[in-house]
C-alpha cells in the first residue's frame, strides 16, 4: 500500500508524508508550500477565494480538470493529480493568461482578495470550455463571492476569456502521461499519529475495508466532512476515501430508471438528472457551486441525512430506491425509509450507499421541484418542495409530495397526498391538500425562515405546481426564468 501522497504542483512533482491526512489543501499551500496567492475567505467552501484546479488523466481531452475549494479539501485529494494555483496561470515568462489579462483590462479586481479565486474559477471554466455565454459564466461563478465590484467586470472578463484560444492539447497530454506514472494503482494507506486514511480502488475493496473499520468516516469531496475539521475543529481518526472507487461512480441511463453510483459526483449527475427532468437540472444548477458539485457526490448528499439536503425530497417524490451494501450483502429500500430521524438513518456501521435508482416518470406523470432560499444561487433551502402526480382518465392515481426544510428529515406529505388521490386535481382538492400540510409538518423557525413562512410557502409551492399542471407557462410562475 502507498504511504505517501504524490502529485504535481504546477509542473513540479511533490510527495507528502508524515502529516495529518485531514490537513486541508489550503493549509498545505499557504503554510507548507508557501504559496500564498490562494486565500482563505470562509473555510467552508462558500466564498471561492481558495479556488484551485485539480487535473487527472481521463476525459475527452485526455486530462480532466475541475475547480475545488482548497479550504475544505484534504490533501489526499491531491494524490496522483496535478494541483494548479493562481501562481501557475501566467506563462513562465510572466505573460498574463487571457483570463488574467481580461480581469486587468476590464477592471475586474478592486481589493483583490477574492481575485485569485475568480482567476482560478475562470481558468477552470476556460480549461473546460465552459465560458460560452453570459448565463454559463454566471453559473460558473456562483460559488465565488466578490464584495467590491458588483460582478459586472468579472462576468465580462469571463466572456472575454471564453473567446480566447483554448488550452494547449499537447501539454495536457504530456501532463496526463506524467500523472499516469505517479499512480501505482495501489490503495493509499496513510497513517499519522492517531489518524488513518484509506483509499480503496474498487467497490469490493471499499466494502472490505469499511466492514473492517465500521467506525470509519466515508469521505468523498469533503464538502461536509471538511467543515467538521475547519469549523467544528474535530479530530477525525479513520477516514475512507471513496473518490478512487471508480466502479462506484458509474451512472447508468437504463430504460426504466437512472442509476447513480454512490460515489458519482454531483457534477457528473447533473446532465443525466436534467435529462430525466428539466426541474432536476435547474435544481442541480442551484445546488451549491461548480466547485462543490465537482467534489460532492449524490451518495454523500443522501447518506449525510440532512433535513435540508436538496436531492432527497426530489428523489423521494420520484420514487427513488436506495441500494446499501455491507461487505458482500446488498439491500434495497425506498429512499424515504432511509431517513429515520434527525441525524439517524437506516444505515448499519460499515454499510454504504452503493447506488440510487431513480425511476423515469412515465407519460401519465407530472413532476416538478422547487427550491426556496434567500438567494437564488448557492444557498441552503428554507423549503425544498418536490411534487409528482400520476393521472389516469382525469383522476390522480398516485401522488408523491416530499419536502426538505419542513421536518427533521426529508419527508413525504402523506396527508396532503391522500387529499389529492382520486381527485381531478382541481383547485378545491389542491386547497384541501394545502390545508393538510399543517397535519404533515410542524416546521421550526431558524435563520433561514420562520415556521409560518415555511408552512405557507410549502402550500404555495403546491399551488404553483397546480398552476403549472393546469397549463400556466413557467414564465408566469417562475420568477427566476425572467431575464
Amino acid at each position: 500500500m502507498g504511504d505517501a501522497i504524490r502529485f504535481l504542483l504546477g509542473e513540479d512533482e511533490h510527495e507528502i508524508s508524515g502529516v495529518s491526512p485531514t490537513m486541508t489543501v489550503l493549509e498545505w499551500l499557504r503554510g507548507h508550500a508557501r504559496r500564498r496567492g490562494t486565500k482563505e475567505g470562509c473555510a467552508e467552501g462558500d466564498c471561492g477565494a481558495c479556488t484551485v484546479v485539480l487535473a487527472e488523466p481521463g476525459g475527452a481531452g485526455g486530462l480532466r480538470t475541475w475547480p475545488v475549494n482548497s479550504c475544505i479539501h484534504f490533501i489526499p485529494a491531491l494524490h496522483c493529480r496535478q494541483l494548479l494555483t493562481v501562481e501557475d496561470v501566467a506563462a513562465p515568462d510572466g505573460a498574463l493568461h487571457p483570463v488574467q489579462q481580461a480581469l486587468v483590462d476590464l477592471h475586474g479586481s478592486q481589493c483583490g482578495f477574492c481575485t485569485p479565486g475568480f482567476v482560478m474559477q475562470h481558468y477552470a471554466g476556460w480549461l473546460a470550455g465552459s465560458l460560452t455565454d453570459r448565463a454559463a459564466v454566471k453559473d460558473w461563478l456562483a460559488g465565488n463571492l466578490c464584495r467590491c465590484t458588483g460582478y459586472g467586470p468579472i462576468i465580462e472578463a469571463g466572456l472575454a476569456a471564453g473567446r480566447a484560444d483554448g488550452p494547449d492539447t499537447a501539454r495536457r497530454a504530456a501532463t496526463a502521461r506524467r500523472l499516469d506514472t505517479l499512480d501505482d494503482g495501489r490503495m493509499l494507506d496513510l497513517r499519522h499519529e492517531d489518524q488513518r486514511w484509506l483509499t480503496p480502488r474498487t467497490s469490493d475493496e471499499l466494502a472490505r475495508v469499511y466492514a473492517d473499520n465500521p467506525d470509519a468516516i466515508l469521505v468523498s469531496g469533503a464538502t461536509d466532512v471538511g467543515l467538521w475539521v475547519t469549523k467544528q475543529h474535530r479530530r477525525l481518526t479513520t477516514l475512507i476515501d471513496v473518490t478512487r472507487v471508480s466502479d462506484l461512480a458509474e451512472i447508468r441511463d437504463e430504460e426504466e430508471a437512472l442509476v447513480i453510483g454512490g460515489a458519482a459526483k454531483l457534477a457528473a449527475a447533473h446532465g443525466p438528472l436534467a435529462r430525466l427532468s428539466p426541474d432536476l437540472g435547474e435544481l442541480m444548477r442551484r445546488f451549491a457551486s461548480i466547485q462543490i458539485r465537482s467534489a460532492g457526490t449524490v451518495g454523500g448528499n443522501i447518506a449525510n441525512g440532512s433535513p435540508i439536503g436538496d436531492l432527497a425530497p426530489a428523489l423521494i417524490a420520484l420514487g427513488a430506491q436506495l441500494s446499501l451494501r455491507h461487505g458482500d450483502r446488498e439491500r434495497t429500500i425506498a429512499l424515504e425509509d432511509f431517513f429515520i430521524d434527525y441525524g439517524r438513518q437506516d444505515r448499519a456501521p460499515g454499510e454504504f450507499v452503493a447506488a440510487i435508482s431513480i425511476p423515469r416518470p412515465g407519460a401519465t406523470s407530472r413532476f416538478a421541484c422547487y427550491k426556496l432560499s434567500k438567494r437564488f444561487d448557492q444557498d441552503i433551502s428554507a423549503v425544498m418542495g418536490a411534487f409528482r402526480i400520476d393521472m389516469t382518465e382525469g383522476r390522480v392515481t398516485a401522488a408523491r409530495i416530499a419536502f426538505g426544510g419542513m421536518a427533521a428529515t426529508p419527508k413525504r406529505a402523506c396527508n396532503a397526498e391522500a387529499a389529492l388521490i382520486g381527485t381531478a386535481f382541481q383547485a378545491d382538492a389542491v386547497e384541501r391538500a394545502c390545508a393538510e400540510l399543517a397535519a404533515d409538518f410542524a416546521p421550526i423557525t431558524d435563520m433561514r425562515a420562520s415556521a409560518t413562512y415555511r408552512l405557507e410557502s410549502a402550500a404555495n409551492l403546491l399551488r404553483r405546481f397546480h398552476l403549472e399542471v393546469s397549463g400556466a407557462p413557467t414564465s408566469a410562475t417562475r420568477v427566476w426564468e425572467l431575464a
Binding site: 508557501r34 500564498r36 496567492g37 490562494t38 486565500k39 482563505e40 475567505g41 470562509c42 466564498c47 493562481v86 501566467a90 488574467q100 480581469l103 486587468v104 477592471h107 475586474g108 479586481s109 478592486q110 481589493c111 483583490g112 482578495f113 477574492c114 481575485t115 485569485p116 454566471k138 453559473d139 461563478l141 456562483a142 465565488n144 463571492l145 466578490c146 464584495r147 458588483g150 459586472g152 467586470p153 468579472i154 462576468i155 469549523k231 475543529h233 432560499s373 434567500k374 438567494r375 437564488f376 444561487d377 444557498d379 441552503i380 431558524d446 435563520m447 425562515a449 413562512y453 405557507e456 410557502s457 404555495n460 409551492l461 398552476l467 408566469a476 410562475t477 420568477v479 425572467l482 431575464a483
Partner: protein
C-alpha cells in the same frame, strides 16, 4: 472658478480610466495582504476566547488547562494589559479589549491564547472553564426602546415649525419601517501582525482603514507614547467601514501578545469569529409623520429614529448623526424635525459601514414618498420631483445648510428619459393586470449625500512626496487602500502635477511613520483629502524645481513647464529625471510634505446648525423587479444609474465604485439578513447562512453612466466628487421597486408595509398583510 482642467496626453494623468495599480498583482496572486507576509522565526499565532453569553457576570475564569496545553506560550487576560484596557475610538472607556467582570455580548473577547500554531491556540482555548452568572439580556431594538437603554443623549434637528405644518396640511400619514443591519463581509477577515522592536517599540502590520487610531490605541494599551508604535498597511482585502474602528481590538491583542512574549504575534480571525466578534451596520427603527398637499409636496415632516448600537458607543453617535443629516435625502422639507436615539443592546457593538447611517436615514423618506404617491394615486417619480432640492440654492436642510449645488431636478429628469421610465411604468402596470403569480415593479430614487466628516476636525490629511535624483517619485499619504482605487487616483494626481508617467510614481504602503495624525480613510473623503495633500506636496517640490531651473537658465519661473515627462525651460527642454538630477547637484530639497484641511465647514451639534458638508454628491437609479407573490422570491431585472462623480479623477475606478456600491446596497436591502436567536447569539456568521449577492443577482441589463455634466462647484481635487459611499444608496430604488410590485399584488389597493431586508419571507408576509387590509376596504 469654472475652468475645466485639460487632461494631459500622457498616461496616468487625471480624468483617465487608468487600471488599478495593483491589478496585475491581484490576478497573479502576488499582491501581499497581512496574512501573506513571510512570518519571522518564532512567530506566535493567537486565538481569542469569547463569551458564550449575551449578558453575564464572570464569576470565575479558569484558564489553568489552557496554559498547560501543548504549544501554548502565553495566555492573556485583562490583567496582562500594561496600559489601558480600552479600544474605544471615541475614548469612551466602554470597549474593553478583554472583559473583566461583565460580558455584554456573545462573542466578546475574554482571553487570548498565543501558541506555536493556530491549531494549538484554538485547541487550548477550548479548555477554558468560564463560570457565568447570567444576567437579563436586551437583544432587539424594540426591547432596548422599551427599557430606554439610551447610550447617549440624542441631539435634534429642527427647521421651521414641523408640528404646525403637519397639522395644517391637507393630507397626513405616519408609519414605521424597520431596516436591518449588514455585515461588511470584506473577503479578508480582520488581521494584525505585531513585531516587537527594541525597548518599547512595536511595529504592527494591520488591515485597517485607520492606522493612526490603531497606533494610538495600541500605545494606550501598552502604556507607551504614540512614537513607540508604528502601524503599516499596504492594502486591505476590503474594508467598507468595518476596518475603521474594529482593527484596534485585533491589533491590540496581537501587540499585547508580542509585548508579553517578546515574539512576533499574529491574530487573524476566521470568518465565523470575525462575524461574531466584530461590529456591523446599525439596524434602525424609523418612525415618520408627514403632512403634504394635493400635489404631494411635503409641508412638514417628523422623523424619530432609533439605532441599535450594540453594547458600546463606538462610532454610533456620528453614525446616528449622519442618519439624521440624511433624513431629508434629496428633498427640501420646509419644516422638519429629526431625532435619532442611540440604543444599547447586548449584541456586538455596531460600527461604520459604507454610508455611515446615511442609507438608513434615507429609507424613511423614500418609503414615505412611495406612500404619498400611493395615497394620491400619483407616480412616485412625480412626487419625488415635486420635492427635490431646487437648483437655485433657496432651500435649507433640516440643519440649516443651504443646498447650493443641487442637480437633482436635471439629473432625475435625464435619467427618467434615458431609462424610459414612464413608458416602462405604464407597461408594467398593464402587464400586472394580466399576471397572477408574478408582479413587476419599478422605481426611480435619487440620492443626495453629504461629503465631509461631520466631526469637522477630521477633515485633514497629510502626504509625503520624495523625488529621487533619477526622477522617480515616492508617494506616501495618510489614506489607505482597501480596493477603492485611492492609491491610483492619488498617484494620478502626483503624476499630473509633475507631468510624468504614472509608472514613475511609486505608491507606497501607508505608515504612521511617514505621515502622522491621519484620519480614517472613510466618509468617501479619501481622494478629496489625500489627493489635495499629495498635490500640495508635489506643488512644493515643483516650485523648488521651477525656481532652480529659472535661476539656472535665467528666465522667469512661469516659463518652466512640466508636461509629458519633459520639462520645458524657456527654449530648452529636458527630461524630468535630468532636472531632478541637476536640482540634486544644486542642493535643492526634493522632498516635501503636503497638507490639506477642508475649508468652509463648521457645525454646532448643540444647536443642530451649520455647514457640516463641503458639498453634496448626487445620483439616481431606476430599478425594475419581478416578485413571485406565492413565495416572495425576487428578481432584479434591469437597473439604470446616472451618477454625479464631478469631473471623475478616474472614470474606470468610479464606475467600479458605482456598480459595486449598488450591488452591496442591494444585498443590504434584499438577501443579507442578520439573525440572532433568543439568547442573543448571531446565527448567520458565515457565507453558508449570510447571503451577500452573487454574480447571478446582478441583472444582465445594468446601464451605468457617470453624469457627463458633473463638476464639483467647489475647488476639490481636479473638480472631482467623492464616490465611495453614495452609490450604495442607489439600491433603495430596488427596495422601492419591490414595494411597488408588492403593492401590485394587492391590486394597488393597499400599500405594503415591507421592512428591510426584503427577503422572500418579508415580501410574502407584507403582501399577505396588505392584501388583508385591502380586503377590508
Amino acid at each position: 472658478m469654472n475652468e475645466r482642467p485639460t487632461p494631459s496626453a500622457h498616461k496616468g494623468a487625471v480624468h483617465r480610466p487608468v487600471i488599478h495599480d495593483s491589478a496585475e498583482r491581484h490576478v497573479t496572486g502576488s499582491a501581499l495582504y497581512v496574512d501573506d507576509m513571510p512570518e519571522l522565526p518564532g512567530t506566535l499565532h493567537i486565538h481569542v476566547g469569547m463569551s458564550e453569553r449575551a449578558h453575564a457576570r464572570l464569576r470565575a475564569i479558569d484558564l489553568q488547562s489552557v496554559r498547560t496545553a501543548p504549544g501554548v506560550v502565553a495566555v492573556l487576560t485583562a490583567g496582562d494589559i500594561p496600559g489601558v484596557n480600552d479600544v474605544s475610538p471615541v475614548h469612551a472607556g466602554d470597549d474593553p479589549i478583554f472583559a473583566e467582570d461583565i460580558v455584554e455580548y456573545a462573542g466578546q473577547p475574554i482571553f487570548a491564547v498565543a501558541a506555536e500554531t493556530l491549531q494549538a491556540a484554538r485547541n487550548a482555548a477550548r479548555l477554558a472553564r468560564i463560570d457565568y452568572e447570567e444576567l437579563p439580556a436586551i437583544i432587539t431594538l424594540d426591547e432596548a426602546l422599551a427599557a430606554a437603554t439610551d447610550l447617549a443623549p440624542a441631539p435634534e434637528l429642527r427647521l421651521g415649525d414641523p408640528d404646525a405644518a403637519i397639522s395644517a396640511s391637507p393630507h397626513r400619514l405616519s408609519g414605521t419601517l424597520h431596516v436591518g443591519g449588514q455585515d461588511h463581509f470584506y473577503l479578508e477577515g480582520q488581521v494584525a501582525y505585531a513585531i516587537p522592536g527594541e525597548g518599547a517599540d512595536m511595529l504592527v502590520h494591520a488591515s485597517t482603514q485607520h492606522p493612526s487610531e490603531v497606533q494610538h490605541l495600541v500605545g494606550c494599551m501598552l502604556g507607551v507614547p504614540d512614537h513607540a508604535v508604528t502601524v503599516e498597511v499596504r492594502r486591505m482585502g476590503g474594508g467598507f467601514g468595518g476596518k475603521e474602528s474594529q482593527p484596534a481590538l485585533i491589533a491590540a491583542i496581537a501587540a499585547l501578545a508580542a509585548r508579553r512574549t517578546g515574539r512576533p504575534a499574529k491574530l487573524r480571525l476566521d470568518r465565523d469569529d470575525d462575524m461574531v466578534m466584530t461590529g456591523k451596520r446599525h439596524d434602525f427603527r424609523l418612525d415618520y409623520e408627514l403632512g403634504y398637499d394635493a400635489d404631494g409636496r411635503i409641508q412638514g415632516a417628523r422623523f424619530e429614529f432609533a439605532a441599535r448600537c450594540g453594547r458600546s458607543l463606538d462610532l454610533s453617535n456620528a453614525i446616528a448623526d449622519r442618519a439624521m443629516f440624511h433624513a431629508d435625502n434629496a428633498y427640501a422639507l420646509p419644516n422638519a424635525y429629526v431625532h435619532a436615539r442611540r440604543m444599547k443592546t447586548h449584541t456586538v457593538s455596531n460600527t461604520a459601514f459604507r454610508g455611515f447611517g446615511g442609507p438608513q436615514g434615507m429609507m424613511a423618506i423614500e418609503r414615505a414618498i412611495d406612500e404619498i404617491a400611493f395615497a394620491l394615486g400619483r407616480d412616485p417619480l412625480e412626487v419625488r420631483r415635486a420635492n427635490v432640492y431646487p437648483a437655485d440654492g433657496s432651500a435649507l436642510t433640516p440643519y440649516h445648510m443651504a443646498v447650493t449645488d443641487s442637480v437633482l431636478d436635471e439629473l432625475t429628469e435625464e435619467l427618467a428619459a434615458s431609462s424610459d421610465y414612464r413608458t416602462r411604468r405604464a407597461a408594467i402596470r398593464a402587464s400586472n393586470a394580466e399576471s397572477t403569480a408574478i408582479k413587476r415593479g419599478i422605481a426611480l430614487t435619487p440620492v443626495k449625500f453629504g461629503i465631509s466628516f461631520t466631526t469637522t476636525h477630521l477633515n485633514q490629511a497629510g502626504a509625503l512626496v520624495h523625488v529621487y535624483k533619477d526622477g522617480s517619485v515616492h508617494l506616501n499619504h495618510g489614506g489607505t487602500e482597501m480596493g477603492q482605487g485611492l492609491f491610483v487616483k492619488v498617484g494620478q494626481v502626483v503624476a499630473e502635477a509633475f507631468g510624468i508617467e504614472l509608472d514613475q510614481v511609486k505608491i507606497t504602503a501607508t505608515t504612521t511613520a511617514k505621515v502622522p495624525n491621519t484620519s480614517a480613510t472613510a466618509a468617501s473623503a479619501g481622494s478629496d483629502l489625500n489627493g489635495m495633500a499629495a498635490a500640495a506636496a508635489a506643488q512644493t517640490i515643483k516650485a523648488r524645481l521651477a525656481a532652480f531651473a529659472a535661476k539656472k537658465h535665467n528666465i522667469a519661473e512661469e516659463h518652466v513647464v512640466f508636461e509629458a515627462g519633459r520639462v520645458r525651460i524657456g527654449n530648452q527642454e529636458m527630461s524630468f529625471a535630468e532636472l531632478a538630477h541637476q536640482a540634486w547637484m544644486g542642493r535643492v530639497s526634493l522632498s516635501s510634505t503636503g497638507f490639506y484641511a477642508t475649508p468652509d465647514i463648521h457645525y454646532d451639534r448643540a444647536t443642530g446648525r451649520g455647514r457640516p458638508f463641503y458639498y453634496f454628491a448626487y445620483g439616481a437609479a431606476v430599478s425594475e423587479v419581478a416578485i413571485d407573490t406565492l413565495t416572495g422570491e425576487t428578481r432584479l431585472l434591469r437597473v439604470d444609474i446616472l451618477h454625479d462623480a464631478g469631473r471623475s479623477l478616474n472614470p474606470a475606478i468610479d464606475m467600479g465604485q458605482i456598480e459595486g456600491g449598488f450591488i452591496q446596497g442591494l444585498g443590504w436591502l434584499t438577501s443579507e439578513e442578520l439573525w440572532w436567536n433568543d439568547e442573543g447569539r448571531l446565527r448567520t456568521h458565515a457565507p453558508s447562512t449570510y447571503k451577500i449577492p452573487t454574480a447571478n443577482d446582478r441583472p444582465d441589463d445594468m446601464r451605468i453612466a457617470i453624469w457627463a455634466k458633473g463638476e464639483n462647484r467647489e475647488p476639490t481635487i481636479h473638480r472631482s466628487k467623492a464616490v465611495g459611499e453614495p452609490p450604495l444608496m442607489l439600491a433603495i430604488s430596488a427596495f422601492s421597486a419591490i414595494t411597488d410590485a408588492a403593492c401590485a399584488a394587492t391590486g394597488y389597493r393597499a400599500f405594503p408595509r415591507l421592512d428591510a431586508p426584503a427577503t422572500p419571507e418579508r415580501i410574502l408576509m407584507a403582501i399577505r398583510e396588505a392584501t388583508g387590509r385591502a380586503g377590508k376596504k
